[in-house]
């Protein structure tokens, strides 16, 4: 029997090594960003362990654009989008999962079609709508087109469908109204899915660039990604030190959040089945 375990051990070892290798490959760009951001630009392509550390790049980057305001805008944006998405998506998914009504199939198909359409294709039409609503150049205008999320509706509908009917019926026997059933039975059971969805949504909107750039004009409504664009000086080549410092600045909140909640995120991704 022992040889079976031995070969298992070898496979395990290989797996671990593979995982480490992939992990290293994954972390390399980030490690490079850290190295470059904290050193003067002459060290950006040279690795000298004793190179003096500096925070100048961060100072320059911070002063090159009103990042404090941009941060506030981005936080407001992702919070607003996420809050609206969670409410809309939950209600829509509940209806699709548990209510039979005429046209349900067609409506759900329409929602799924939305998944196939790249948001960039709709830029002109969305711009027109926002102008008609008088919302151009506001944070609301950046978020509004994304609030009814097809992906979220689909994801939650599948989750809600997997909730045993018996729980639903038991709650109703106890006298719960429809909304109470949703709140007390479905939502708690879908918590890992919510968490995973929230992470995807927040990181998407945190990083979204083209639409926010096009629909906004002023510092008061622009997110960090638009501010970051100042550093990609295409005529001149790239100053890696500054751009990596600025990138670290803008992604730091997400990175920190991920490190803090890493265990929960991974667990919920496993359960929600999105990878």
């Amino acid at each position: 029997m022992s040889h079976v375990y031995a070969s298992r051990g070898a496979v395990r070892g290989l797996e671990t090594m593979g995982a480490w290798l992939l992990g290293l490959l994954w972390i390399l760009p980030l490690a490079y960003a850290f190295w470059t951001a904290f050193h003067a630009s002459e060290y950006s392509t040279r690795f000298v362990l004793a190179a003096p550390l500096t925070l100048d790049n961060f100072v320059t980057a911070w002063n090159a654009a009103p990042f404090a305001r941009y941060f506030l805008n981005t936080v407001l944006l992702v919070a607003m989008v996420l809050a609206a998405q969670l409410v809309l998506v939950t209600l829509a998914a509940y209806a699709f999962a548990r209510y039979a009504f005429p046209g349900r199939g067609i409506l759900f198909a329409l929602v799924l079609v939305q998944l196939m359409v790249m948001p960039d294709v709709l830029i002109v039409e969305n711009y027109r709508t926002m102008t008609a609503l008088g919302l151009k150049d506001t944070i609301l205008a950046i978020g509004l087109p994304y609030m009814a999320s097809a992906f979220g509706i689909f994801l939650l509908r599948q989750t809600f469908k997997s909730v045993p009917r018996e729980l639903d019926e038991a709650a109703r026997m106890e006298g719960c109204t429809s909304l109470q059933v949703l709140w007390k039975v479905y939502v708690p059971l879908a918590r890992p899915v919510y968490l995973a969805y929230a992470l995807v949504s927040v990181s998407y909107h945190w990083n979204n660039f083209l639409w926010p750039l096009i629909i906004t004009n002023s510092v008061e409504s622009r997110p960090v990604t638009v501010g970051l664009q100042v550093f990609s000086a295409t005529d001149q080549g790239v100053d890696w030190s500054i751009i990596t410092a600025a990138t670290l600045l803008t992604t730091a909140p997400l990175l920190v959040a991920f490190l803090l909640f890493q265990r929960q995120f991974v667990a919920s991704f496993m359960r929600a089945g999105i990878k």
């Binding site: 392509t45 090159a64 711009y127 083209l210 096009i214 002023s218 664009q229 100042v230 000086a233």
Partner: protein, 432 residues
């Protein structure tokens, strides 16, 4: 053409009436002029532009300027055209000079000619370098005003020249010398891997721009003035591409494959190559970051000297009121005055767009301390319009794909240029 221009005239006069009424109704309200501008070089460009707007408003209380930073050039035209199609374009915008045909085809811009009335205005329009106006005029009309413009120049590392036994103060004057110099400047380590290249011409992103310099030097332009015809498969063009390919494959003095535009200045600072071709827009960057003595020279001549121009122009958008257009023109004239053109050139590294800017005291002082700054100006008499045609993005892409195919060795230069020309003929068929 006739019906289109008469329709334009009618539109124009209606707009004028509406504007008269509007002007009467809001005689007190300041004219609001929004404009988009991209940032394509390092440095605090947004702050300089905001400063311009504030200064201009102080001098012109009746005008309210709204400068709107719009990302890269590519982002800017996307943003401007989206806004235009949705009904609310900016009054003016700085966009690539090569976007001219695209903007005309979209019927998004108006020519400046209708606003030029006085002889003073005409003199202003004539004050710009002819090379920059080539990309700003077509069909007898002026559609763009040069603002942040550049050309390609050669930067060389004087220390490496000295080490290779070359005169450190003299750059190669022609293609043959380039090869001779570069052969002396290329170094290999024990295993035959190059540790130092003789020359580097970037070929990522927009290889057509650098290639155009080679083509012009070889005596041909890549397109006609009307933007309806390209000459990618002319023998001189193929010859120019053969020279570029030979630099790496035959003479082995230039890195093989695609050379990245964005990291080329960094390679220069890191002493990975002795000579680089890049934009004058890099001058301030190189001056600040090169830790060695460097020189700047005109591009080496083939049959003649030459370089395309590059960079951005001011455009006036349709759907603006006559009052807004007048105000916009006032700002454009203000921003391109000799004094400001000189200051803008010094701050950013762009070539000051008119001859009299170089006679201003600040510019004279700057050039005296940093003679390299004048090289781009001296090259302007040899400069030609940057490649620009109708359906510009796709026609240019056809050439880019062909160039990269030849440089990576998947096609011969001749095959690559023939394919590119065929594609461009197909795209331009409907514009003839």
């Amino acid at each position: 053409m006739f019906s289109k221009s008469s329709a334009r005239a009618i539109n124009g006069s209606c707009g004028f009436l509406v504007a008269l009424v509007a002007a009467a109704a809001f005689a007190q309200a300041p004219v609001e002029v929004s404009f988009y501008y991209p940032v394509a070089v390092g440095g605090p460009i947004t702050k300089i532009i905001d400063g311009y707007a504030a200064d201009f408003e102080k001098e012109n209380p009746g005008i309210k300027l709204k400068p709107i930073y719009s990302g890269s050039y590519q982002d800017s035209i996307t943003k401007a055209l989206t806004a235009f199609k949705s009904g609310e374009p900016p009054v003016m915008s700085i966009l690539l000079s090569t976007d001219m045909f695209t903007l005309i085809d979209e019927d998004a811009i108006v020519p400046f000619d209708d606003l030029i009335r006085t002889s003073e205005d005409q003199a202003w329009l004539k004050s710009f370098y002819a090379a920059f106006m080539e990309n700003s005029r077509t069909g007898g009309k002026t559609w763009g005003i040069p603002f942040q413009r550049s050309t390609i120049v050669l930067y060389w590392n004087k220390e490496m020249f000295k080490d290779a036994g070359l005169d450190p103060n003299r750059a190669p004057a022609n293609w043959k010398e380039t090869v001779d110099y570069a052969q002396k400047l290329t170094k290999h380590d024990g295993s035959g891997r190059a540790t130092q290249w003789g020359v580097q011409i970037p070929s990522s992103g927009f290889p057509y721009w650098l290639f155009q310099a080679l083509a012009v030097e070889n005596g041909v332009q890549l397109m006609n003035d009307a933007g309806t015809q390209t000459y990618y498969d002319r023998p001189e063009v193929i010859e120019a591409l053969q020279y570029w390919v030979d630099l790496s494959r035959k003479y082995k003095v230039h890195p093989e494959g695609i050379v990245d535009w964005g990291t080329t200045p960094k390679d220069f600072f890191e002493k990975k190559m002795a000579m680089m071709w890049t934009t004058t827009g890099n001058l301030t960057n190189v001056k600040a970051n090169a830790k060695f003595d460097f020189g700047v020279a005109m591009l080496p001549a083939g049959k003649q000297r030459g370089s395309p121009t590059g960079g951005g122009n001011f455009y006036l958008f349709k759907k603006s009121t006559p009052a807004q257009r007048e105000a916009a023109l006032k700002f454009i004239k203000w921003a391109t005055s000799p004094q400001r053109a000189a200051q803008w050139g010094i701050d950013t590294g762009y070539v000051a767009v008119r001859a009299d800017a170089w006679d201003t005291p600040i510019m004279k002082q700057y050039v005296a301390g940093f003679p390299a700054a004048a090289v781009a100006r001296d090259q302007l008499p040899f400069a030609k319009a940057e490649l620009s045609t109708h359906d510009n993005q796709r026609v240019t892409k056809a050439l880019n794909d062909g160039l990269q195919a030849a440089l990576t060795g998947t096609k011969t230069p001749e095959q690559a240029m023939r394919d590119a020309q065929r594609e461009s003929e197909r795209l331009l068929r409907s514009y003839k």
